[in-house]
């Protein structure tokens, strides 16, 4: 039995989320195969070196936009001998995996953060306010992996075999139009070592560009239009776990905490000394953020 991992890439390298899913897969079995959808030679070369990957399935056909309707049958075909199918729990995996799982009459297990054994997994429920341990009775298990819960697989010693995979058809019912990605020269939020997040009180994105860190935001700051929606950290946004998380002008709503409470060190800066964020922060600083931030950026250089 093998484990199939659905890879995502940006065209030059395999995503961090996929590398975490590979680490999770290694806890279950030794034969791990990777399906690469939007392949380039560069990505395949890099993927080949990932330690622990046996085979790489390449794909062709109508892969444009990664439409679930076209790709779900292709994943099932690659998963014929698989006991488990893994993907990262980003929006790509969340969109596609349940479709694949239902086609196989399996009950998917979403967003796992721990593997107990090959049938048993731990996953957060209620925005991470509780953890549920579930045992699956399905023959093939379809799983999305919370990437912050597993280290990235290293990419040095592997030598995977390349296998030409199946061809995706065109479904005729859905079509990809375009993707508008927010451009930024900052580190990617979920992979960054330091994340600075701002709340509604921040006024504008420029006000928290310190430390050369990745920028996150509370739902309130996104709704106020200071930053694009993909900056949102929280239950319905991104889940991050950096070395250092600095929350500026964020009160600490449950939904925000769900997205950052696994960070190694949390700093909270808020003018309200009773803000709930201080109950989980390692270091709290009470004061006016418009005085503190310039001083902090200045002194830290």
């Amino acid at each position: 039995m093998s484990i199939l991992v659905i890879a995502e890439s940006n065209g030059t390298e395999v995503d961090r989320g996929t590398l975490s899913a590979i680490t999770a897969a290694k806890k279950i079995g030794n034969e791990i195969n990777l399906l690469i959808l939007e392949e380039t030679e560069e990505v395949i070369n890099k993927a080949q070196k990932i330690k622990g990957v046996s085979k790489i399935f390449t794909a062709s056909g109508d892969l444009e936009g990664g439409l679930a309707e076209n790709i779900a049958p292709l994943i099932l075909e690659c998963a014929k001998d698989a006991s488990h199918v893994f993907s990262s729990a980003g929006t790509f995996g969340k969109n596609i995996m349940p479709r694949v799982s239902a086609l196989n009459d399996s009950q998917q297990i979403s967003d796992i953060c721990e593997i107990v054994d090959s049938d048993t997994f731990v996953r957060p429920i209620y925005a991470g306010n509780a953890l549920e341990t579930v045992k699956s009775s399905d023959k093939v298990k379809f799983i999305t992996v919370r990437s912050t819960a597993f280290e990235a697989a290293n990419d040095e010693e592997g030598n995977a075999e390349i296998v030409t995979g199946p061809v995706a058809g065109t479904n005729g019912k859905s079509s990809f139009v375009r993707r508008d990605l927010s451009e930024s020269d900052r580190p990617e939020l979920t992979a960054a070592k330091i994340v600075v997040s701002g709340g509604r009180g921040i006024g504008s994105a420029d006000n928290f560009s310190i430390l050369g860190a990745a920028v996150g935001a509370s739902r309130a700051a996104v709704d106020a239009g200071y930053v694009p929606n993909d900056y949102q950290v929280g239950q319905t946004g991104k889940v991050v776990a950096p070395e250092l998380y600095i929350a500026i002008g964020i009160s600490g709503a449950i939904q925000h905490l769900a997205g950052m409470k696994d960070s190694k060190t949390i700093v909270a800066i808020n003018k309200d000394e009773d803000a709930p964020i201080f109950q989980i922060a390692d270091y709290g600083l009470v004061g006016d953020l418009f005085e503190i931030i310039p001083e902090l950026s200045d002194k830290i250089k």
Binding site: E132, T133, V134, S175, K264, Q279, L285
Partner: protein
């Protein structure tokens, strides 16, 4: 055009949840229950389509215990027309929910299903995609904007890193993200009218769907609590502790 909107009754999002003393589930007794917030957005979007003449009827469906009827009536007060309540005292997993919804879609000849992207209790984010698979319909998940022209639905979706635009042909499944709309508050006259709208009750055993659980819940626990640290006096002290104590800068 008929729109089906499935809704789920969940613990209100403002409630701080508690795991029961047996460690088997989250305590639901004497806890405020509400409609899943993403489902409210779905109801709002469907009702707006009806109000602008794009749809004739908005059917509300819910699977759950008796209390689910209150949730269906909340959707009625927002503008839903009639309801279907599949009665199950126990938890129903996403795959079984999708199978039941498939039967409803086929029986009602619905052209569009709008539903929440995830329920805030189990956070699965699966049912819409599964329903699309079972019906062989296209799916547009995490929608933040819809534009319907005849049978073509243009959908802007929230994805990691930004936005994506898709065209899907009706019939299709749409799952809602937070910024699709702001759900209305129901007016008192509409709340009164909602009491008179029809709900058909069907016991889950009569749906013909195998609803046996595939996932056995072995335990539910609270995550390790993160204890608060301490306050620092000023920026200098903050920089000092981050450098010398935490070692993160």
């Amino acid at each position: 055009m008929k729109i089906l909107v499935p809704v789920k009754r969940v613990i209100d999002y403002n409630v701080k949840i508690r795991v029961n003393s047996e460690g088997t589930a989250v305590e639901k007794n004497n806890v405020k229950m509400s409609m899943n917030p993403f489902d409210e957005i779905a109801v709002e979007e469907a009702v707006r389509m009806k109000e602008s003449g794009l749809a004739e009827e908005v059917i509300i469906a819910s699977i759950g215990d008796k209390g689910s009827q209150e949730t269906i009536r909340t959707a009625f007060a927002m503008g839903g027309d009639r309801g279907i309540h599949i009665v199950n005292e126990l938890n129903t997993e996403p795959l079984a929910v999708a199978k039941i919804l498939k039967n409803i879609v086929e029986k009602e000849s619905a052209d569009l299903v709008i539903m929440g992207k995830q329920a805030i209790d189990d956070d699965s984010n699966q049912t819409g995609q599964m329903l699309a698979a079972l019906l062989s319909w296209p799916q547009a998940t995490f929608a933040s904007k819809l534009e319907l022209n005849d049978n073509d639905l243009k959908v802007i979706r929230e994805i990691d890193g930004g936005l994506e635009t898709l065209n899907v042909k009706l019939p299709c499944i749409v799952t809602t993200d937070l910024r699709l709309n702001e759900p209305r508050y129901a007016s008192l006259p509409n709340i009164m009218k909602a009491k008179k709208k029809e709900i058909i009750e069907i016991p889950i055993a009569e749906t013909g769907v195998d609803f046996t659980s595939r996932l056995e819940v072995l335990k539910v626990e609270e995550p390790a609590a993160r204890s608060g640290g301490r306050k620092v006096e000023d920026v200098d002290e903050l920089i000092d502790v981050l450098k010398n104590e935490a070692g993160v800068i």
